[in-house]
């Protein structure tokens, strides 16, 4: 694989001069001399899956560099991606299978052979199955290329209880856009001229290509960025306008924008007439939601709302209200996302350059394996009954935990966990600990001793992404790609890829027939339908197949049927009405902050992924400890100064954390970074350092999607 040399990069990058925005991204490097080589693979340090080139010297990974061939990763590698080397050579990483030797969480471990770990786990799973049926086992995972094998083992074992991460993340957004457009689109920030972004802190919470496209847009093309957030984030610092909106009132702001755009007839009438359903109901629905009313709710002046609405509509179709990811904020989250979808729809930005674009996909083949019988029992989270519109295969995490704790509708006594740390990922750590306690058996597959692994009975060490080969992953988008993650170095320790861990268990559970293949056979089948000759060879050599030319407008044809009930874009949703939910987003104000308390808000940082990576030295030195952000007004009132040790308490937990007095937050909110206050001593840099937000967060969820609502917790703050 050739690496581009800088003179060529340079030759194509007259960006700033020509004012052509980021068009350089898609110029192919010319075939020039090869200066150094690397093994192409795919980063796993966050969900972006950027293409990397691994430089290996003497069997040791020396450096990871960006692979410019993948347009989605925009020829870059972030701090986390660069730090992946430190995960491989981390002296504290999991090096062999472990079985608990003391009490849960006591930290006494017995290193065992793979055979013993598999035998013991299979025995425990079979015991639970005999007593409670296969539905007595729970299989929890976070997305990854090998997650499919783990989930399949749970299903083949007969459990309906597969629980994934979306209901802790973006389930409400996914559902809201799907209910409206029949699909979740991407946002063409490379070409948008006007972007409204609420809370999606794109310059600290990196998403490719959105982060790179937006910074280019704002700084080079002079696109307008309107940013709403209770915190003055890096994104706020780059925005043209920042509004520290009253938390939980985004829906009021959006409804008022729709109100103004309709009242002043600034919507795209031809598009609304041709492609949408229920516009008349929207017109009636938003009448009371005036900018003056919204000013009272949001704290954003009516004149600003009117101006933003006008500019947004004027810039359309190159204008988007950006959806964002981690949309787990408030109990009305689904409806707030629905309002965004409606606002985007009525200005006609659908499937236009600079607007919202339905995703393209790179085709690939499928490996056909022997199917198993569908699990017979209903899901323990009762998703069909309580969240009929939500994605059944992903489950709803918080309702699930409530049911497991109550033992209703049935007991769940074994918990298998892959690549997830529920003690930090799920609000209310105390409850999650109780959930662990009531399990007869808990096993974790991971690369590091997470807090949840620390409380498990068996820990299976997975090989690091640079030590294994994964299935080919298709990433839909405006610049869609299919990527391969291939082994760069041999496993350093006695670890295995998830598939082999699953196969060891399957053999002992009598399920071998369903997993009777190798990763090479799997990939070979997938590579067959890739849109390049010699697909597998191409993937091994380049790591990626991508479409670098966006396509716009394919769904704007009169006969196009959207994947909704009516075949149109559903502004008014009959399906929601039938499910007993508001067919149009109705506003109800958020709970008021009780006097003497603060609303706890969460957010991301570019050197941390979820609650992980904080222990890696190259990342840790930038965030050695988290602290509680407090506005000076609030700090003065409580006699708090930066560095003071605080006690922060919610109704479910209390933590000690140091104060950071800063103007960069609303006076009624406090904020802390995720990923600290770890219980596992094998994460030594963050063990008992700072505090874990999960301890404080209360259990609340969005009514429609079941997505966790993580900004509904109020805390009391006092100096220790």
């Amino acid at each position: 694989m050739d690496r581009r040399v800088f003179l060529q990069v340079a030759g194509a990058s007259g960006v700033a001069i020509s004012g052509l925005g980021c068009s350089w991204l898609f110029k192919k490097p010319e075939a020039k001399p090869v200066f150094s080589t690397g093994i192409p693979t795919t980063c796993e340090l966050c969900p972006n899956k950027c293409s990397v080139l691994a430089m290996v010297e003497g069997g040791r990974i020396r450096k990871l560099n960006p692979n410019p061939e993948n347009p989605k990763s925009r020829d870059m590698l972030c701090a986390r991606g660069n730090a992946a080397i430190q995960q491989v050579y981390d002296p504290d990483r999991l090096k062999q299978p472990l079985i608990r030797a003391g009490a849960r969480g006591e930290g006494k471990w017995r290193p065992v052979s793979w055979e013993e770990a598999w035998d013991y786990t299979a025995k425990k799973l079979n015991e639970v199955k005999e007593k409670h049926g296969p539905q007595g086992t729970l299989w929890a995972s976070t997305e990854g290329f090998q997650e499919v094998f783990f989930k399949n083992l749970g299903s083949a074992f007969g459990s309906p209880n597969i629980i994934r991460h979306p209901s802790l993340c973006l389930a409400s957004m996914n559902l809201a856009y799907s209910m409206t457009f029949g699909t979740v689109p991407s946002f063409d920030l490379l070409n948008a001229d006007y972007v409204i972004m609420a809370g999606a802190n794109r310059f600290e919470s990196i998403i490719t290509p959105d982060t790179m496209d937006l910074i280019g847009g704002v700084m080079e093309r002079k696109a307008k960025l309107i940013y709403l957030d209770p915190r003055f984030t890096v994104t706020a610092s780059k925005a043209d306008e920042w509004y520290p909106i009253a938390p939980g009132t985004d829906l009021a702001f959006i409804l008022a924008l729709i109100h103004v755009i309709i009242r002043e007839e600034r919507f795209d009438r031809a598009f609304v007439d041709g492609f949408t359903l229920g516009f008349e109901q929207v017109v009636e629905h938003v009448k009371p939601y005036t900018p003056e009313w919204a000013e009272q709710e949001t704290g954003i002046r009516a004149t600003d709302i009117i101006r933003i609405a006008r500019n947004f509509a004027a810039a359309a179709p190159r204008a988007v209200f950006y959806a964002g990811r981690r949309s787990s904020w408030y109990q009305n989250d689904f409806q707030m996302r629905r309002a965004q979808a409606i606002l985007n729809a009525i200005v006609g930005n659908w499937d236009r350059q600079g607007g919202m674009v339905p995703n393209q996909k790179v085709p690939k083949g499928e490996f056909l394996f022997m199917p198993w019988d569908e699990p017979k029992a209903p899901r323990v989270d009762e998703i069909e009954k309580n969240f009929p519109l939500a994605a059944k295969g992903d489950g709803v995490y918080l309702p699930l935990r409530e049911n497991v704790l109550s033992g209703k509708p049935y007991p769940v006594k074994a918990w298998m966990i892959y690549k997830q740390d529920p003690l930090h990922a799920v609000p209310d750590q105390g409850k999650t600990l109780k959930m662990i306690e009531q399990m007869d058996f808990v096993a974790v597959i991971d690369i590091a001793m997470s807090d949840t692994a620390w409380y498990a009975d068996v820990v299976f060490p997975e090989s690091h992404y640079l030590e294994r080969t994964d299935p080919i992953e298709v990433m839909p988008g405006i610049w869609p790609a299919a990527v391969l993650r291939q082994q760069v170095v041999k496993p350093l320790h006695d670890t295995k890829p998830c598939l082999e861990i699953v196969q060891g268990l399957a053999k002992r559970l009598g399920l071998s027939d369903y997993f009777d293949y190798t990763i090479d056979q799997w990939i070979e089948a997938e590579a067959k339908d890739l849109p390049v000759p010699n697909g597998l060879e191409h993937m091994k050599k380049h790591g990626v197949v991508a479409f670098s030319e966006p396509k716009y407008g394919a769904t704007r044809k009169a006969d196009h049927r959207f994947v909704t009930k009516s075949g149109k874009i559903e502004l008014f949703s009959e399906r929601l009405q039938e499910a007993g939910q508001d067919p149009l987003p109705k506003y109800s104000p958020p709970a008021k902050v009780p006097s003497g308390k603060f609303r706890l808000v969460l957010g991301r940082k570019a050197t941390i992924t979820h609650a992980a990576l904080t222990q890696l030295p190259w990342l840790h030195e930038h965030n050695p400890e988290n602290s509680l952000w407090l506005h000076p007004e609030s700090a003065d009132r409580l006699g708090i100064q930066t560095g003071d040790l605080l006690e922060v308490a919610s109704s479910v937990g209390r933590v000690n954390i140091k104060a950071l007095v800063t103007q960069e937050i609303r006076p009624d909110c406090v904020f802390m970074l995720h990923g600290f206050g770890k219980k596992s001593p094998w994460l030594r840099a963050v063990h008992n350092v700072g505090a874990a937000d999960a301890v404080l967060l209360e259990t609340a969820w969005d009514k429609v999607s079941g997505n966790a609502a993580m900004h509904e917790t109020f805390v009391k703050v006092a100096k220790v």
């Binding site: 040399v5 030759g11 150094s36 660069n82 310059f203 570019a606």
Partner: protein, 183 residues
């Protein structure tokens, strides 16, 4: 025809910097810089009163000056400058006297806790000599950095400096810094 000498320099569009630390970590990885010391950094400046706040980020490292004071003060000749402008330290000749650390107006040098010599950004000379970009430049997510040869009239940095307004840090020192910040 004699080949024209190269003059390497770095142009930075700081407005695009999002303080993500990719450059800092890439540098650590490429140059095996220990934890706690840095060959490059991002200067952060905060100002204003809530809610009228401002934050700016300025990435900085060795300015590879035309007239480097670190080279002038070095008693052993360990600090030296290549013909292409890259300022380096010969680690074998460095006695760790730290004169250069004091002489540098940009605080770009540090005492390496393991080698006990002075250390600094080398523009990733090992990569540049292979025809590659410095690690910080190649990895930068928001493409703040443009590296190249100022003496090549077709190079993007030459064109950028010819067509855009820019500033350098502390020009009054007479060091002739070669990190150019676009305005």
């Amino acid at each position: 025809m004699a080949k024209k000498l190269k003059r390497y320099a770095l142009v930075l569009d700081s407005k695009k910097c999002i303080d993500c630390k990719a450059c800092v970590v890439a540098c650590k990885a490429e140059n095996e810089v220990p934890v706690g010391v840095y060959r490059n950094r991002i200067n952060v400046e905060r100002s204003g009163e809530y809610p009228k706040l401002r934050t700016s980020f300025d990435p900085e490292q060795c300015h590879h000056c035309d007239n480097p004071s670190c080279v002038r003060v070095c008693p052993t000749g360990a600090s030296w400058q290549r013909k292409d402008g890259i300022v380096l330290v010969k680690y074998d000749d460095c006695v760790g006297c730290k004169y250069c650390i004091i002489a540098c107006p940009y605080d770009a040098r540090f005492h390496h806790p393991e080698t006990h010599t002075v250390d600094k950004c080398t523009f990733c000379v090992q990569r540049v000599d292979r025809g590659e970009l410095p690690a910080c430049v190649e990895t930068c997510p928001s493409k703040v950095r443009v590296f190249g040869d100022l003496n090549d009239s077709r190079s993007p940095i030459h064109l950028l400096l010819a067509t855009r307004r820019y500033r350098v840090m502390k020009p009054q020192t007479g060091n002739g810094p070669q990190l150019y910040y676009l305005l």
